[in-house]
């Protein structure tokens, strides 16, 4: 069992990494506007896998607020949509993890996280703009979520294997 200081330090480092990845990803050019890899979710997943749901929540909330402050998007509609989607994605990933790692590996967690993030984003945008037909974006959102979820899940599996223990 790791000491609490070590645990705190690790979670702090993961939160710092999440902020950097989140801001960096916002700056990087995107081939398609809907294709965001979700690199910021990687430290959240690592916190979930190494230290449990509460640690993941801490990393996710710090990422959203500090990242939002740094990128200047704090408190605009896009921020609230992203933050809501982030919370929903955390909830679903935590539930998937709680089922046990023999049911879903890191790749499964990554897919759950990315796909629910995409779906929640669409749902919140729908609530905000109040128009049906946002759902024509559903297939693209699902495809993007599936691909980025697999990639981030593989990265998380690989990093987790080498960093914890």
């Amino acid at each position: 069992m790791e000491s609490s200081t070590r645990r705190l330090t690790r979670i702090g480092l993961l939160a710092a990494a999440a902020v950097v990845l989140f801001v960096f990803e916002g700056l990087a050019p995107r081939p398609l506007p809907w294709m965001k890899l979700g690199l910021g979710n990687l430290p959240v997943m690592l916190a979930l896998m190494g230290y449990g749901p509460l640690a993941a929540l801490t990393v996710s909330v710090l990422k959203l607020f500090i990242g939002g402050l740094l990128s200047g998007s704090l408190a605009n509609p896009a921020f609230f949509i992203g933050a809501g989607a982030g919370m929903f994605s955390w909830l679903v990933m935590s539930a998937a993890r709680a089922l046990g790692r023999s049911i879903f590996s890191a790749v499964g967690l990554g897919i759950w996280g990315a796909v629910t993030h995409q779906l929640a984003q669409l749902a919140l945008a729908y609530i905000y703009i109040g128009q049906w037909g946002m759902w024509t974006l559903l297939p693209v959102a699902l495809l993007g979520g599936l691909i980025s979820g697999i990639l981030i899940g593989l990265l998380a599996h690989w990093v987790h294997d080498r960093s914890v223990q």
Binding site: L32, P33, W34, P77, A78, L99, R101, S102, I103, F104, S105, A106, V107, G108, I111, W112, V115, A125, Y128, I129, Q131, G133, M134, T136, L138, P139, L142, L143, G145, L146, I150, L154, H157, W158
Partner: protein, 130 residues
Amino acid sequence: MSRAFKELQWLSILTKGDRVLIAVIALAIGGLYGVELRKEEGARVVIRSEGDTQIFDMADHAIRSLQGPKGVSEVEIGSLGIRMRTSSCRFQRCVHRGWIRRQGDMIVCIPNRIVMTIQGKRAAVDAVSR
């Protein structure tokens, strides 16, 4: 076998749950794209901005300017369909959406509060079963 190659064998880390999840999502995507491709091309476009609704015929090619809270957005109706030509919003998602032309297709600009929907000749019906 080199170590780098072993790390590429990622299929082995997938659990049964992972595989089922991937299969279900892939099927959903396939089904949704199938429905999308069977939609007919639209005839009219409904543009809503700031509580204002305008309807244009898609055969009348034109460029129109709309005033939103973030500034002016230009809508273009052309032979490829309709698109947001320019927009004074930050992320330009509406512009990147490109041309749309099928019934039910939609371009939404959240920052500038513009929604464009394509309708058929008659009332907006998704499909008719015979």
